[in-house]
């Protein structure tokens, strides 16, 4: 692999390879010495044009556990906020010899632009671009599902037959998009549940079920996984739904709905959560919840991705 830009273009074999390498990385994290020498001498730049402390420290930890040198380049306080273009920033990082660039940007397509532009030769990892994709989040979600379902026998397995409800603001969610493409590649069934205002235009042509009614979806789909998405505060006043109370009542995973799930149904959330809005505290803290596991697995997945992109001689890699 040269870059990781999306899950849409990720083959099943590559996806399973990443998940399997992440299993190895996860084992390393159980050791007393958690660090591998694999990327010694390589430089990874976390290029964050959008604030995301969680994702940034996850990538930073992943790179450091592989012994890479890590530079954090945040738009705030850097030349970017003074109007420097992405092109100049990329060429600067190239001149300084960056081997990998982890980019988070509010503009959809920015990682692809970096990969295609010729401004920089580094391996590019998409850490979330606009409302397009967030591939490492989808990979860590799939990793988390696979471990819960297949346990120690996870290696080499996909997610055939697993049914996943993704609930909430699908329209603005890069997590929902990356999850849809990856879960389908891995053989899972995906159903989106949201008010029509928060479903992407044309989503009926996507390989996902579409439902408006969360209660009916829980009863009829009988999901193995329920993934709740964060409602951003800026959506509250833009006519997507009348108010947070109505949203929570109709589309929140509250205690009653939690009780109606099977005991082995997994409850997921990419974080950060709005407790009491899209998910109740009891649901978030239940034994079914994987919220904390997702964070831990995120480091393993990002180690796997950085390892696969940056280790060895990149000239020969496809």
């Amino acid at each position: 692999m040269r870059h990781l830009l999306s899950t849409k273009d990720l083959s099943r074999d590559d996806a399973i390879m990443i998940l399997d390498v992440a299993e190895d990385m996860s084992d390393v994290q159980l050791r007393e010495v958690k660090k591998l020498p694999t990327l010694r001498g390589k430089t990874v730049v976390n290029l964050f044009f959008e604030d995301s402390t969680r994702t940034r420290i996850s990538f930073e930890l992943a790179a450091k556990r592989l012994s890479a040198d890590v530079i954090n380049f945040s738009a705030k306080g850097s030349s970017v906020s003074k109007g420097e273009s992405l092109k100049d920033t990329a060429q600067t990082l190239a001149a300084m010899g960056a081997d990998g660039v982890v980019i988070r940007h509010s503009s959809s397509g920015s990682p692809q632009l970096l990969a295609d532009s010729g401004w920089i030769d580094a391996g590019i990892v998409n850490a979330g671009d606009g409302t397009h994709e967030h591939p490492t989040q989808a990979l860590l979600d799939a990793f988390t599902m696979r471990r819960r379902i297949h346990g120690a026998a996870s290696r080499g397995r996909d997610l055939s037959g697993v049914s996943v409800l993704i609930v909430g603001d699908i329209l603005h969610s890069r997590v929902a998009r990356s999850n849809l493409w990856l879960l389908r590649t891995l053989g899972a069934e995906v159903t989106f549940v949201a008010p029509a205002t928060l479903l992407p235009f044309g989503a009926e042509t996507w390989p996902a079920g579409i439902r408006y009614d969360l209660d009916a979806a829980i009863a009829e789909v009988n999901p193995d996984v329920v993934m709740m998405l964060r409602i951003q505060s800026e959506r509250m006043n833009a006519a997507f739904f009348p108010n947070p109370r109505e949203y929570a009542r109709v589309w929140g995973l509250d205690d009653e709905r939690l009780a109606r799930l099977r005991p082995d149904t997994i409850v997921m959330h990419p974080g950060p959560m709005n407790r009491g809005l899209e998910i109740s505290s009891r649901a978030a803290d239940s034994a079914q919840s994987t919220v904390i596991e997702q964070v831990a697995n995120g480091v393993s997945i990002r180690m796997a991705v950085l390892y696969l992109l940056l280790s060895g001689d990149r000239e020969g890699s496809a």
């Binding site: 503009s107 397509g109 397009h132 998009r177 235009f201």
Partner: protein
């Protein structure tokens, strides 16, 4: 001294072959086997002769955005594309909303001489959509403005649009509407559909164009005014226009070359050269637009030539400017999309790119049917040519063409404006020589 030309063996739009003698800015003789009599000979065997092309929708960017284009550089691009007249849009800095600005643009065009420049006046002050600009003053100025447009922005206030239609009728002008409901297209980046959802780019829904066109044709009918719709881009818009024309409403419509050839699939690259407003649409829309041209629902092809400097395109998609240059490629794209596909013939091309835009823009004494005595605005194109469109084809200041690397049919070989050459064998004539001819023409005709 005025040069005489003898164009030999040209194929006219109706398919007949003829020699054409040009002298003193006019076609002075036509027929076969004409003698040179000291005229410069142009071998036009295998070339199609068209009346000089007229673009009703050009952004020349001067005054204010001279890093993108100037009246001189933009009219050079026009000449290279076979155009002999361009209508310059009003979204300059300052906006062309007073007689001073339109007269300045007009005189810059006159001095450069590569094409007849007809300034378009803004409908509202500063294109702000709040108060009517000095439409009467611009109509009565030396620039004699006849087309008014807030292009780039929609005159979205219904009452203001009604008043504009009525007021412009007073001066025998026309409103050219950029049909885009602003609320439905806030932050929009590309055509709204499954693809925009997949790419995570805010959608520009077809209904935002179609609803404004529907409202405006009804307003034009109600007040009995003439209306022109800029750059139709959707199948639904063609339906609305077809309905309006069947109803007898005095409305005309244009389509751009790029909307006749390119689709939204190109946006997958996130290459901002494909970012344009209105956006590239679906295959179905391209086919409906071509059908609209074929049955006369769409009256003209206009370029919406929109130059931008490299830095406005060499960036993140949602930071990039909207627009494509189009003058140099327009005739080739028209041939590729419409002629090679058998949808229209060269007679139709002459109508779509010369006669009809001149009529809508009230451009008198410019286009013609090659009768003796006609103004010698003539374009000669080689329809058998086929080549990869490249940077060398772009002669304006900007390089934001969506066609770079694409194979297009046809090649403009010669352009004559007022009887003097602006393009010879595909090469632009020297600016000083063109300016001298322009001065001479104004002295004898002005």
């Amino acid at each position: 001294m005025s040069t005489q030309y003898l164009i030999v063996g040209a194929t006219l739009p109706d398919g007949s072959k003829s020699d054409l003698r040009i002298a003193n800015g006019r076609i002075t003789e036509r027929g076969t086997g004409l003698k040179s009599d000291g005229a410069a000979m142009i071998d036009a065997n295998g070339l199609i002769a068209l009346p000089g092309l007229v673009d009703l929708h050009t952004h020349l960017r001067e005054p204010g955005f001279e890093q993108s284009e100037t009246v001189l550089s933009g009219t050079r691009a026009a000449a290279a594309g076979g155009f002999t007249s361009v209508f310059a849009m009003a979204n300059t800095m300052p906006v062309a909303d007073t007689s001073g600005v339109v007269e300045q643009v007009q005189s810059l065009g006159d001095a450069a001489g590569y094409a007849t420049v007809r300034p378009i006046g803004a409908v509202t002050v500063g294109l702000a959509g709040e108060r009517l600009s000095e439409i009467g003053a611009m109509a009565h100025s030396r620039a004699a403005v006849s087309v008014f447009s807030d292009d780039g922005k929609c005159v979205h206030d219904s009452l203001l649009m009604r008043r504009a239609l009525e007021y412009v009728k007073t001066f025998n002008g026309v409103i050219a509407q950029h049909a885009q409901d602003p609320r439905l297209t806030e932050k929009s980046q590309m055509n709204e559909g499954a693809l925009s959802s997949e790419l995570g780019l805010a959608g520009w829904p077809a209904v935002a164009e179609e609803s404004i066109i529907a409202r405006d044709v009804l307003l034009a009918e109600h007040v009995g005014a003439r209306l022109h719709i800029c750059h139709l881009s959707t199948a639904g818009s063609v339906d609305v226009m077809r309905w309006a024309k069947a109803r007898g409403i005095d409305v005309t419509a244009e389509v751009t070359p790029h909307h006749l050839l390119l689709t939204e699939e190109l946006v997958r690259s996130y290459d901002a050269r494909f970012k344009v407003n209105p956006p590239l649409r679906r295959d179905e829309d391209v086919l409906a637009l071509r059908a609209g041209v074929a049955d006369g629902t769409i009256d003209i092809i206009a370029t919406d030539h929109a130059p931008h400097p490299d830095e406005a395109k060499d960036c993140e998609w949602d930071h990039a400017a909207f627009g494509m240059v189009g003058l140099e490629s327009a005739l080739s794209v028209t041939q590729t999309a419409l002629v090679d596909t058998g949808i229209v013939g060269w007679n139709d091309v002459a109508r779509l790119l010369s006669h009809a835009p001149a009529r809508i823009g009230r451009l008198a004494g410019h286009t013609h049917d090659f009768a003796v005595g006609s103004p010698a605005n003539i374009t000669l194109t080689d329809p058998s040519a086929s080549s990869t469109f490249g940077l060398a084809n772009l002669v304006g200041k900007s390089r934001n063409s969506p066609y770079l690397g694409m194979t297009l049919s046809g090649s403009v070989r010669h352009t004559f404006h007022h009887g003097y050459a602006t393009l010879t064998d595909g090469v632009l004539v020297d600016p000083a020589e063109v300016a001298a001819h322009a001065t001479e023409w104004r002295t004898t005709h002005g």
